[in-house]
Symmetry: C2
Subunit: 343 residues, 2 copies
Amino acid sequence: MQLVSYPNGVVRSTDFQMVLRKLGRLRPGEVLVRNTWMSIDPGLRLRLRAQSPDGYFGAIPLRSTISGVMTVGEVVASRADGFAPGDAVSHGSGWREFAVVEAGRDEIGGLGTLRRVDTSLAPPRAFLGVLGGTGLTAYAGMLRVANPRRGDVVWISAAAGAVGSLAAQLAKIRGHRVIGSAGSDEKVSYLLDVLGLDAAFNYKSGRLEDLLHQAAPEGIDVYFDNVGGHHLEVAIGALRRGGRIAMCGTVAEYDKATSSPGPDNLFLIVAKELTLQGLRGNAHVDVLPEMWRELGGLLRAGRLECPETIVDGLENAPLALARLMRGETTGKTLVRIAPEAGK
Amino acid sequence: MQLVSYPNGVVRSTDFQMVLRKLGRLRPGEVLVRNTWMSIDPGLRLRLRAQSPDGYFGAIPLRSTISGVMTVGEVVASRADGFAPGDAVSHGSGWREFAVVEAGRDEIGGLGTLRRVDTSLAPPRAFLGVLGGTGLTAYAGMLRVANPRRGDVVWISAAAGAVGSLAAQLAKIRGHRVIGSAGSDEKVSYLLDVLGLDAAFNYKSGRLEDLLHQAAPEGIDVYFDNVGGHHLEVAIGALRRGGRIAMCGTVAEYDKATSSPGPDNLFLIVAKELTLQGLRGNAHVDVLPEMWRELGGLLRAGRLECPETIVDGLENAPLALARLMRGETTGKTLVRIAPEAGK
């Protein structure tokens, strides 16, 4: 699928078009993959513009097949060592039904390198979510960046989202008091009843400062930020001395053509000796084996909820992204490109 | 001296008044100090308002003698163990000619506890600057918080100021490429010719982005922020992946009644995995002995420039603060309350 125009505000299907391309013969080192599932992530929205943010993944060029998006599939033919027909693999060449992938090559910081996935841990699509980039962002973000200390109170925004729901559960499993926020009462029920968080609120139901204060009257120690904007400002206000913020994304801003001003209370970073740290999963690829062990174990033990929103058909991928950006999805948003044949 | 009204914008002498008070008899544990020098710090401006920022030192009450400000002096009489007439001491009871100080008590986070100062290292007033809170902020800020790595390019704003000039020299001594900015051409000459920085610019002489780019075409790795506001935004733009910001103060904001919006480019904290950390010297009091050793050694070796702006007379302290806030001072701003008698 190609991008034909940079979306203005909310992503529309008409910004995209499907094209039919004939694939050439495989060259040495290449593998032909039949894609089955594709990851839909908010960060993609930042690349659907003429220039992506400095330091981020590159902008998606118009009228060429969209690339650099995590996908799983099955090897159909292989001229690369270590890959054979029938292998379940993950790679970074999404937005197409069949992909020719060069082994060892990656355009998205190490995560997109073609690799076989261990289907004894979970079905292949889990390697886009809990065992893929989403899991890595939550795992490294909570354990390496936010790194709550014993007794810390942790607030997670967009806590019913893909990264947020995992980050919240990891903090709970480690014994912290965990507060989640989300954008609907239904999601709040999910956070309380299914994920078992200590407190949760719908940020649309009142003044954010008040809602957070009710959930954490004594303040918070860690904020896991998926939202940015006013949420970040309120967190800076509520953090106690020495508090930490893992900044994972600022999804409130991604649909906007221009950036909004930042929080007006940044002096509190000095006054309370706060730390803000930006977080990108792909900087922590070294932690994948450890994460597969730990999260794979939790999955097998049934201790990890991995909600999903599944959209069928590659042609509906733009719709899936639009729904994600509007806050209508819960957990990991996936596009099912084709059924799995299995081995 | 007392505060009689909260300054509106720039501090004026008429916001203060001198009063004569009779001192009571010393109680056990108390020491009478004849104050000789007082520290003038930008952070005091944040306390000259009805409410100081959350987590910061308390607001200065109206019509009571201003307290919680670092001062040095000579012990006149003592009913506390370990202190004898003639001792040179530092404490937190500034803005007065004579202070009754209770040993062991402090209202400014550990730094203001009555302590004898080692005049073999430097004259007493140095314990307000390079060997006191100023030095501690620069030393802990540069070495513990910013902690530049080999090869890092370091930008320091307000680099001709008390903290900035020390932080810049510490980074130079450790072999980094150091860029300083300041608010006058005279200060820029000082940074280049006396402190020997690698590059320096007057931030008023052009677009800040362009000036920094000229000084650091490849970007920076560490920003030591004494200013906040637009400087912070430009630093976030110029930092390379994994860069760090030690936020020491936001002096551009202190005279304002309301806070300005923050940088609009905070997503770059995520994209480039930046870290911002707030810094207060008094959180690092444990490092004082190490700092006295190291900076004392550098002072004796003549390797540390410690510029000073000296204002005579306690009655002129408000003027000293106003000049500091207007950027008219270089290095440490001190008020000479009385001549030193010496031992």
